[in-house]
Symmetry: C2
């Protein structure tokens, strides 16, 4: 932590956390054994690895402008996985790809398969549309993760050379281009590179990109004119808002445009704020955070409701059936939330992080780790979209032409332990609950926390505290926003949570000794959640949530015409068990009503008040949907 | 009526019906004094009238491929208006346009401003996309209406020559093209021409077009190949379904594609069935009718939910906010319903006709007759569409680049009396209720019916019957489908309706004498209507309807966030009065609930069951929406 840092706490590194819970640990193992090999194969067979050596004569598919990023995210995921669990074959695969890239790198440090191989004369001529800096950022993230996992510097050095080239090319100095990326990502990556290497110029470069964005005269116009193009002609999007370049970041007060771009930018802005101590950037982040999480976020943590711009529309516009809610966008929301949490340790950030992780992120991957959703709607009505619709057809795909989501999921799941704990000088923070162990470095020494819990299916959490040496510090335990009744015991003695709890965390400051045992009980009844009345799409409806997990109805359990099922206001929800093929996790059941189809004949309209019949509504965790026979799905239920 | 006719009853001609009611008569007068002059000016200033004389040198806008139809529909509307009320200036305007067309007509009878003036070498080369036969059909309808109103034959003769040319060009004979229109319309127009002239070849030509449609090898492919085009490249639509040419009409069992095209086709098919006695065509109509009215129709009588094809999607797909529900489509549904009613006099046809007329048709025109909707959504949420969005912005427009709807409304309103009464040999039929008088020709003589009623605002209807001479016949009075309690008196004596009522009509057969008085009382409480549970968009919601009039909420009366208003199941609806600017017609009021905004702060989600506050819901007739300050509108209300 440098002196100027606004970061109040630091994440506990991946290598200091082990999970042995029944929820995340198996997912991480599936990620390692199924997802990563599949994505390796996909990158290989689609020509992504060979893209760095592609020639017109090779007869293979021409590299795409964002192929580098798919390779990069796979390496990053592999890095996290290797940090947690050694895997010589995986490491060898990465080394081979790194060798290819190192050989492909230009003498000036430039590295981009499309612009080196397909259009070498067009480098850096269209930052707005062409993803060069985006690809560079992902490669940097991959290099940092792989370096931190293995200690191997080769890829890191390659990316430092590329970053040096970028720093020489873009800036306010004489002869430099005053450009910045159309698809943000490099900002946060440069801060990672700065943290990994200590080279302040990478932080300065990130700061430049953040500050330059959205200034007038507009660089995208300047570069378009230099190309001889009409500045109004866009490859993607149709406006500066699309890439958050409509005004300088400190003047932005609504989250607009492409959702992933927005989240990556704000993550980078938070990073720059953290490292430079620029409070005005943090303030901008807070304003934008409030807008997106209070006005533009699905109950699943999905964001960006429309396919039109893969992004945001207007406040409170959250259509369920056509929800885009790109997997990458929820993942990127987690990134941003995690950064905000460390600048400002408040439950609201961890709540959103948790909401996204257990719902809109995890829904992106099938139980077997082999297939992925690009979009995550909250309703599926199969006649609406062709079953073969890659995005909206309601069936996960192994890969996509634009394959951003699968490797993004891979790196998210592989790095999951990183999101659980943080350390202050004399504070050990627990953000997420999952059985496992963490070694947390405080000023006074190391404290080992051992969690036992069946979270998210049960709200009982016990934590064994092993400080070395015994010392006075604060154990900060998150009291989730979803929890309305929590209680605490330390060494079997009940402690009143109220005076301890502030900003979503119970702060237990005492002399901790080896063998201390903390028990946190988070009441976890089924909750009916309603949306702000300004969300017109959810009017008269409720979503079922238990703990952090949002539930949904599937046709497999409830028959079709799910929207016709009404949950009476006074119906009592009980717990059952999902089928074995869904892991036998808790199912929510409730007595509900359906119009009696026989009573309707062939009528389209009739006076209200027809016959209904009693049915048992069966809801499964949203993230598990589409793992069985394809059919309807519904999150927001009519309540009567 | 020819011998083969399947038509069981005949409409009472426009000139035999006068309306002096408070609902339609003022609308017809506004149509004559405001709408027709505005449309005359629009046709004039946009160059539509001059299109028949356009040259590249004229410097004016090049005629569009469907401009003829706008001119034609204006003439047709003028014809109906002149039939009801003489207007020398209007007649002079029509005569001038007719002179232009007569002069422009080719020596072979051909008449089309685009193909005569812009692409003379492309005549009849692209029936699928280019609207030539569609324009011809509208011109024929205009000519017939104008002839019937004024007795002037000039335009009729022009159109007979054109019809002769068409009959010579298209058919199964040696050297003829086996084509048929991409946009149907000429089928019904040729039957009108046949009825007006007695020339059977026009009926034969209509029959040919109906029978040829959708056969293999597909004419659209043949003509595309002849043009040297790829048959897969479409100007409009993307498939044969779009223009109902995917299979022969007798094999079609779902209504698909462009809604107006479909309705015009089925109207023509019903006409051909009527005149040729081909029961297989009537059967096809019945199947298609059942599909569209039982599975694909809005509660307003709107049809065709999507802008994508200006038409149909799949059964029970009736989105409210993005409803296309083109004004022309509802008008064309009225045309078809009217035809079916005469083949098969059943209330279900008149019910749909009435539903569309009082709701989805009339919503297309502003109270002052000067502005028009192309689309008629059932919800308007202003942030969703730019206010300047010509289609979805929620504000009627004076004209459109594709101006089909305004003159279609003009001809519909101008011809309204035509839809009210029919005559069988010894049956006088009353389909719609409105104060006024009709002279109905029966075999035994003329019967004059004089209605007194405040319909649709009141269900009391008295009818004075004046037969000349007195005779035994059946007075068939429609008992609307919306009415759940009707009673009847003849000369003050109550008559049990049950034994008299069949297929939606009370049939009162007796010796009718001058001065007989019939009183029909149709109970008209506010009804809550629910949609078939398969309509997912209306789940948990009700629409308010009173008599034939569907109601809606507007922001002007209820504030914003209309979707947040919930109507309790037990809330009693009462009647109030709409503001004077809406004609002080009945308003529906009900005690309702709204979430308390103050209780929500800035939350997006929270446990259900927050505070609500009591409000008074105020609903106005749907057709009157968007006549005040622009704002939200909602038909389907959440019911709690």
């Amino acid at each position: 932590m440098n002196n100027a840092s606004l970061r109040k706490i630091n994440p506990v590194p991946l290598t200091s956390v082990t999970l042995d819970d029944a929820f995340w640990a198996p997912l991480m193992e599936v990620n390692r054994t199924a997802t990563l090999p599949i994505q390796y194969q996909q990158c290989k067979t689609t020509g992504r690895f060979d893209g760095f050596m592609w020639t017109r004569e090779s007869g293979t598919t021409e590299p795409h402008i964002f192929w580098d990023s798919d390779v990069a995210k796979w390496i990053e995921a592999a890095g996290y996985s290797l940090a947690v669990k050694p895997d010589p074959e995986l490491e060898k695969q990465v080394d081979e790809v790194v060798d290819v890239m190192a050989a492909a790198q230009g003498p000036d440090g430039y590295l981009n398969m499309y612009f080196q191989r397909v259009q070498p004369d067009k480098r850096w001529t269209n930052l707005r549309d062409c993803h060069e800096l985006y690809c560079a950022g992902h490669l940097m993230e991959g290099a940092v993760a792989y370096f931190q996992a293995t200690g191997k510097r080769k890829f890191l050095d390659v990316m430092c050379r590329y970053a040096d080239h970028i720093a020489a090319t873009f800036g306010t100095g004489e002869g430099q281009k005053r450009g910045y990326p159309g698809h943000e990502e490099i900002e946060l990556a440069l801060v990672k590179l700065f943290r990994a290497t200590g080279e302040k110029k990478y932080l300065d470069q990130a700061t430049y990109f953040v500050n330059e964005r959205g200034r007038q005269p507009h660089y995208y116009d300047i570069e378009a004119q230099a190309r001889g193009d009409d500045p109004k002609h866009w490859h993607f999007g149709h406006s500066y808002e699309y890439c958050q370049a409509h005004k300088p970041i400190r003047e932005q007060d609504r989250v607009v445009g492409h959702a992933v771009r927005a989240m990556y930018l704000y993550s980078g802005v938070a990073d720059v704020a953290a490292e430079t101590g620029d409070a005005s950037l943090l303030e901008a982040c807070r304003t934008l955070w409030k807008n997106v999480t209070h006005k533009q976020m699905y109950v699943t943590g999905g964001i960006g409701p429309t396919r039109a711009n893969e992004g945001f529309t207007f406040d409170y516009d959250l259509p369920n059936e056509s929800a885009y809610a790109e997997t990458c966008a929820s993942i990127a929301l987690v990134f941003w939330a995690h950064r905000m949490l460390h600048l400002d340790p408040r439950g609201e950030y961890a709540d959103v992080m948790e909401r996204a992780l257990y719902n809109g992120v995890l829904s992106g991957v099938s139980r077997d780790g082999e297939k992925f959703f690009y979009v995550n709607p909250l309703t599926l009505y199969p006649p609406m979209f062709a079953p073969h619709d890659t995005f909206f057809g309601g069936q996960r795909q192994q890969w996509f032409g634009c394959a951003c989501c699968p490797p993004n999921l891979a790196r998210m799941v592989a790095s999951l332990p990183l999101y659980m704990y943080s350390a202050g000088e004399a504070e050990a923070w627990v953000h997420l609950y999952a059985a496992g162990e963490a070694d947390i470095e405080l000023a006074a020494g190391t404290v080992t926390l051992t969690q036992k819990t069946r979270y998210p299916w049960d709200g009982e959490v016990t934590i064994n505290v092993q400080p070395q040496p015994q010392s006075v510090f604060t154990l900060a335990l998150r009291i989730p926003g979803w929890c309305r009744e929590a209680s605490l015991k330390v060494n079997g003695r009940a402690i009143d949570l109220d005076p301890l709890t502030k900003d979503g965390y119970a702060r237990i400051k005492r002399l901790w000794q080896a063998g201390d045992k903390v028990t946190l009980s988070l009441a976890m009844p089924v909750e009916r959640v309603e949306a702000n009345p300004k969300v017109r799409q959810d009017a008269g409806r409720v979503a079922l949530q238990r703990g952090p997990v949002v539930y949904c109805l599937e046709e497999a359990d409830n028959g079709n015409d799910l929207s016709a099922i009404a949950l009476p206001k006074d119906a009592k929800c009980t717990l059952g068990k999902c089928p074995e093929e869904l892991g036998a996790v808790p199912m929510i059941k409730a007595p509900a009503l359906r119009p009696d189809a026989a009573d309707w004949n062939d009528d389209l309209y009739r006076p209200a008040g027809g016959m209904t019949k009693a049915v048992t509504l069966k809801a499964i965790p949203y993230y598990l949907w589409a793992n069985r026979t394809p059919g309807e799905m519904l999150v927001w239920l009519t309540q009567q």
